[in-house]
């Protein structure tokens, strides 16, 4: 999976998809995940990074992360390679 290269991401967490006109806002965690995806990290890498950084149960983190990844895919922000 890779981030849709055409989307514009601003530092304040605003995402604009120029192909559809859709726009989204991300919270800090969402922005962190998208930034890691943008830098080429895999989902496993991201899971590892977040687990190390936050005091969170691994199962809960995985569930939320998968939900977020599904949202990104559904909105054409994350594409299958």
């Amino acid at each position: 999976m890779k981030l849709n290269q055409s989307i514009a991401i601003s530092e304040n967490g605003f995402i604009f998809n120029p192909a559809t006109g859709d726009s989204f806002t991300l919270n800090n965690t969402g922005m962190q995940v998208v930034s890691l995806l943008k830098s080429g990290k895999t989902i496993d890498d991201i899971k590892e990074t977040l687990t190390a950084e936050y005091d969170v149960d691994t199962m809960i983190l995985e569930r939320y992360l998968q939900d977020f990844i599904s949202d990104l895919k559904r909105n054409n922000l994350l594409l299958e390679e």
């Binding site: 055409s6 514009a8 604009f16 120029p18 192909a19 559809t20 006109g21």
Partner: protein, 348 residues
């Protein structure tokens, strides 16, 4: 660059909640470095706001409603031309286009240019002809049928699933969830716009539009794709953003090159969740959101004026993505003397 002085007659000064395209067309022309334009407004109603916007419209004349016939319109144009020496006229309403297209050669003989679709182009893209249009040019359109009576409507509705779109001949569209609702809309629309009323399959998806200008030889001079961001209860975009959608622009090129479309047009499209583009309507004139195209780098009104005057026009090849328009309303304070002068003399 040499700045050419021109006198331009423009309709569609109704800058109201369901605005005509006149004012944004004027903005585009006034901002052009190629022209020093005197704008002659041609109005149907005394309260069209553009009449009173003197910084944009230099002079306005009332003209007869299309229902008065093309001869009455031609006589009025001759009177106005005798005083204003018009170089061209840009009509901006669907309902008046038939008369202007019919009068094109007569108006041309007066020395006034226009840049309009041919009668065939105008007729074949009518909402009521859309299924045939889709078949002829290989584009996807929703199922549509014409209703001339309530009896027709009942018969037609048997082959549709609810909700359906019920559309006026020229403007207005409603989503009906039952036969009773469809009948109520039929009566409302036929009273306002005449017959037929069009019943169209409801296609769910995202509303997207393209504004375009064809040179009449199959070339696209300008094309900008837009996604509506806010839609009013009248179905008009109150906010929109330019988008980079290759398939929408390819569809526009396909239609313009196949039909050799001449003049401004708007494609109203729906992108379904399975990413299919349906043409809902082809409007045969510049839409009211034209200034977004100007703001994104394609001065379509300027290009249309150049085409009409036989000047060389280079096709635009790109525009800025992510440019937005946000419409707003503004109360003007106008002296009653201006209104009374217009009402009594037919000009201001």
């Amino acid at each position: 660059m040499e700045c050419r002085k021109i006198n331009v007659g423009i309709t569609g000064l109704n800058n109201i909640d369901s605005p005509g395209p006149g004012m944004p067309v004027i903005r585009g022309i006034k901002e052009s470095p190629c022209f020093d334009a005197r704008i002659i407004g041609l109005a149907y109603d005394h309260l069209e706001p553009g009449i009173y916007m003197k910084e944009w419209v230099d002079k306005t004349y009332m003209i007869p409603y299309p229902s008065k016939g093309k001869d009455a319109l031609f006589e009025r144009i001759k009177e106005i031309h005798a005083r204003e020496k018009l170089d061209l006229i840009i009509p901006n309403f669907d309902a008046e286009l038939f008369s202007f297209i019919k009068l094109e050669s007569q108006i041309d003989q007066l020395g006034i240019k226009t840049f309009l679709p041919t009668l065939e182009q105008f007729e074949e893209r009518h909402k009521s002809n859309l299924p045939g249009y889709g078949k002829k040019y290989g584009v996807d359109v929703p199922k549509s049928e014409e209703a001339f009576s309530l009896n027709d409507l009942s018969n037609i509705l048997r082959s549709f699933q609810f909700p359906v779109m019920v559309k006026g001949k020229y403007y207005d569209a409603y989503k009906a969830y039952s036969p009773e609702q469809a009948q109520a809309y039929f009566i409302k629309l036929s009273a306002k716009w005449g017959y037929p009323v069009i019943v169209q399959e409801f296609v769910d998806g995202t509303e997207v539009n393209v504004i375009a200008l064809g040179d009449g030889k199959g070339n696209v001079i300008s094309a900008v794709a837009m996604r509506k961001q806010y839609i009013t209860d009248k179905g008009k975009a109150w906010g929109g953003v330019t988008i980079s959608d290759v398939s929408m622009l390819e569809l526009t090129h396909k239609i313009i090159s196949q039909t050799k479309w001449r003049g401004g047009m708007e494609l109203e499209l729906i992108r379904t969740t399975d990413n299919k583009l349906y043409i809902l309507e082809i409007n045969p004139r510049i839409p009211a959101w034209v200034y977004l195209a100007v703001g994104a780098g394609q001065n379509l009104p300027e290009a249309l004026v150049k085409l009409a005057l036989g000047m060389e026009v280079k096709p635009y090849t790109s525009y800025e993505i992510g440019k937005m328009f946000i419409r707003y309303s503004w109360d003007m304070i106008v002296d009653i003397d201006m209104f009374s002068k217009l009402v009594t003399s037919g000009e201001l």
